[in-house]
């Protein structure tokens, strides 16, 4: 099928699934076709001659609306940035374009990416994202905060999409919608032009229909960017690759290595739905059957990870979002401030949504002089413990840390396999009734990898007996593959292997 034909199908799907609200400004069919037709024909031409710019040449990639593009507004689904046009594009967008990809549009999200457990892409000025799946006739959550990107991919409105993952924002919606969601190692992909939520955790991730597609996009967007001070240097990347290859050659790994797969006890929570646990067990059994070995291990800091995350991320958010005052760009309230010594209370009060305000307040508190020692500093210590847990679990040494000669404790694993979420997607109607603190706990399985900066991929694993009775009930459970920092390739390799089971 020609790229043009494939794109036309995507555009048709965009119209068909308009009501799911995946895109912030759903483009009209004629307009997008008009806009991209020439480029698509040119891409087809290149493909016919075997001169593709890249494996994603001529593909339609959707961009989460907290990643800057110059053609469309970048709103972060926030009233304060309604209609905001960024004067510069994100590095990842530039990279996609020079690889021949076309921008399918900007996708819906929870305001400033503050979603996942709590918001499920419902906290957007553009309206909530809806899942294609339903349960007993009720709409289900698409997960957040990259819910728009996930649904756009799952419903064939684009070939792949970029999301951002701070504590699970790519992986959770992937798990809820049956897409593949990949979060790279921190620093692998440039964040220049990606609107910061919690910048020590923020990563640009990929959503796609299978792991190969995701990998193709990742291969295009990764790389050192001098504009991003947290981007991994080229020389360090070479060092990481050598470090990983050295171990592989020592072990004599060929194309189908035998892996040691870790199963952390702490991830088998009480709240885990039976269908999720069952799927997890099935996969592990099958992998064992292929000759891989399964190792139960402990990541004791996991229990504190969620609390630490919900101290650190809001703290950074309260700082990063201080810039939205309506003075230089964005929107400003026309009302006058009521009291002296107040500058932006009305503007920020009206321009930021409820969940954003909640996290800004939470973060402002945990950074305040009276609370920082008990909250922010403690949370940073927990973060270090979480990292140490993973370093103890993985056989591969962390490539950026000084090598320590630790005695092997028998559990040194190559990857860790866990569920991505504790449950299938919940009903949207149940979310509005629930307690925010309870809802935060939906991130419990994704947050540790974010705190440690590890590569992690959520893979949809088909479920044998559908949970609901209807034909539109969820058809897969998200399984999360984690590897040591820098070993993003292994995550993809394992995903490919599981996909072929």
């Amino acid at each position: 099928m020609s790229l043009l034909r494939k794109a036309e199908q995507c555009f048709a799907n965009q119209q068909a699934y308009k009501l799911l609200n995946a895109f912030v400004t759903p483009p009209s069919l004629g307009a997008v076709l008009q806009q991209h037709k020439q480029d698509l024909q040119a891409a087809d031409e290149r493909r016919n001659q075997g001169l593709e710019k890249s494996p994603i040449d001529g593909q339609l990639i959707a961009i989460k609306d907290n990643i800057c593009t110059t053609e469309q507004p970048t709103t972060c689904a926030s009233a304060i940035l309604g209609g905001f046009h960024s004067p510069f594009p994100a590095t990842v967008v530039e990279k996609l374009k020079s690889a021949g990809a076309l921008i399918a549009g900007k996708t819906n999200l929870d305001e400033f990416g503050m979603g996942r457990g709590r918001s499920h892409s419902t906290k957007s000025i553009h309206g909530a994202v809806k899942n294609i799946y339903k349960q007993e006739g009720d709409d289900l959550s698409a997960g957040g905060s990259s819910g728009g990107s996930a649904i756009a991919v799952a419903t064939g409105q684009c070939d792949a999409a970029l999301g951002t993952d701070t504590g699970g924002s790519v992986r959770l919606p992937a798990a809820y919608t049956g897409a593949v969601g990949f979060k790279p190692s921190y620093g692998m992909v440039s964040r220049w032009g990606v609107v910061a939520y919690a910048n020590s955790l923020d990563t640009v991730g990929v959503l796609a229909r299978n792991s190969s597609d995701a990998r193709n996009v990742f291969d295009v967007i990764k790389g050192y960017d001098p504009h991003d001070p947290t981007s991994i240097l080229e020389s360090t990347r070479v060092r990481i690759t050598e470090h990983i290859l050295k171990r592989k050659s020592e072990l004599g790994w060929g194309s189908a290595p035998t892996l040691r797969i870790g199963v952390p006890r702490e991830y088998n929570t009480e709240e885990l739905q039976p269908i999720v646990r069952r799927t997890w067990q099935n996969i592990l059994r099958q992998l064992q059957g292929m000759g891989h070995s399964i190792h139960i291990l402990s990541l004791p800091a996991t229990k504190m990870a969620l609390s630490a995350y919900y101290v650190l991320a809001p703290a950074e958010a309260s700082s990063n979002l201080a810039k939205y005052d309506g003075v230089r760009y964005g929107n400003r309230s026309s009302g006058r401030e009521g009291s002296a010594n107040v500058l932006y209370a009305r503007t920020r009060g009206a321009g930021l949504g409820e969940e954003v305000k909640r996290r800004v307040l939470l973060g402002s508190y945990s950074l305040s002089a009276a609370a920082i020692d008990n909250y922010f500093i403690q949370a940073q210590k927990v973060r270090r413990l979480v990292q140490e847990d993973f370093n103890n679990a993985f056989a591969l040494q962390h490539p950026l840390l000084k090598s320590k000669s630790k005695p092997s404790r028998g559990a040194d694993v190559d990857i860790i396999l866990t569920p991505t979420a504790q449950s299938l997607p919940p009903k949207l109607s149940s979310l509005s009734r629930s307690d925010p603190v309870q809802e935060y706990s939906a991130d419990v399985l994704t947050v540790p990898a974010s705190l440690a900066g590890l590569p992690s991929l959520s893979l949809p694993v088909p479920i044998s007996s559908p949970a609901g009775s209807g034909a539109d009930s969820p058809k897969s459970v998200g399984m999360q593959i984690l590897a040591q920092f820098g070993d993003d390739d292994l995550v993809f390799d394992v995903a490919r292997m599981v996909e072929s089971l």
Partner: protein, 623 residues
Amino acid sequence: MSRVVSTYGLCHKVPKPPLKAANRWHSLRVASLHSQWTLLSNHGRALQTDAVQANDVPFRKHLKDEAKRKRHAERNVKEDHHTGSRGKKEEALRLGKWKLTVGLEIHAQLNTERKLFSTAKSSDNDVPNSSVALFDLALPGSQPEFQKVTLIPALRAALGLSCKIHRESRFDRKHYYYQDQPAGYQITQYYRPFAVNGRLTLYDHDGIAPEDGQSIDIGIKQIQMEQDTAKTTLQPPSTAMLDFNRVGHPLIEIITHPQIHHVQTASACVRKIQLILQAVNAVTTGMELGGLRADVNVSVSPKDSEILGQRTEIKNLSSFKAVEDAIIAERDRQIVVLESGGFIEGETRGWTLGSTETKKLRGKEGEVDYRYMPDPDIPPLIIGQDLTSHIESFIPDLPDVILKDLTMHSGLTSKDAKTLMVLDDGERLDYFDDVKLLWSIRRASSKPVMDVEHTQRSISDDVADRRQSGLSRLADSSPVFDRVVANWVLHELGGLLSTAALPFSPDLVPPNSMVDILSNLSENRITGTTAKRLLAMAFNGDRRDINTIIHEENLALQHLSRDEYLAMAQSLIDENSDKVKQIQQKGQMGKLKWFVGQMMRQGEGKVEAIKAEAILKELLGVS
């Protein structure tokens, strides 16, 4: 698989904030602000030097003021002893019971071409908002890019103040809202500054209080790098224009230990820090020009108490006088409060010029909590020993060394030496050095003056070489000649500059011309009057060679014969018999000078004062 029961709840529930009805929105393209914003100020801001202060005090005036104050102080002490001024006595008594303690925080703009975290040029004089990078405006998705070049002046400053340089330092965010702070936070070095444990010595000639004796050491707690804010220009009634050129310009904040106990010493310390920063070429301009600003922490405690009193902070002082006046006012306020049984609150206060008291800006309850947080985007700053050593090797002589050289070796008065050092950002001192050096080389060499071109070339090369290697101070010279040079460079040239209201430039009177004038004068080939006339001619643009002028204008001193002196003197004596009487009978020797003056005027530059005086004395029979 075992099952683990676990709770992942958070420690606190946050109550939902009440939501206000959504306001109407409008987009904002121009930075015009509500009028009420203009009422706000003083949020622990970075450098607030928006306009050149109206109270700019040139340094020489400051020196005069200082001298005047010293005289007053001495007189007051005498008066107290003899006549006993009751008010003064009471004040002295009161002050005698209390000990003042002051710590300083000095902000200075670094002399560097880049902003701290963007590649935009750091300029204050460009068209508004023409030198602004994406990050400077805190645009969504932009990130900081540390500019290594800004480290050079920062390290010079730290080394000039004898600090220990931390190999690893970090950048933190200091949060507060203000329209001149685009990100909602200032990037600074709160938890781990790049330089600590410095020291400077203040001597009596630096103008410290007499109670501090000959010298006092002040410890520097730390120096941190940080960002400047935007410049606000108010357009009443309701508009504030923002110029973001200055946003992100690198500053250093120098924090002293609270080791200052006298007002004069505090301002001497600020001045000395400025002098050092300029000497090592770390800063753009001095305090009086807006490149420097001080916050002072003031407390008083009972004289014998070891424990410091509660301190208050007075922010944004942008002149030496403001530093002194604010400390005096705050000290007196605290004493009054304490003596009337009250207690001092830890608060931030402001001072406006010309006022007699500090004004409370915000109390403890209103204190801004800056919520310091390590900046997650900026990696730790690693400063290698090689860089530090390299910069250290290029640090020029510090003011104390120069001052010692000028007073000990060149025989200048401490006042002249200091004036020379601070004028024109050190350019006048360079000029002095050039003239001094050229002249000494001229004296040492027996080269004929005619071989000007060759000599000039080699001499200026030599000057450049010597200056580069820091040797200029070591050039052979003698105090006699150096004092002459200083006198002419400071006072004669200075007089012409202030009359013409021109800024100094070494090209106005090239060093070579100055040397020509001075050597002709010292070798008695011209009179002092002629020398001044030649200087004025050169100053006013006469580019002829000095010796050519002397020749063409017939200005060379022609030695009159003894008979000519005698005739001139005798006729004056005959015409002024009354004055002669006053000298001979009443011994009014001052009148003799009048005769000398008359002879010199008549002689039109040919009469030498010493000879004239000798002849007059001879004729009048006085000695």
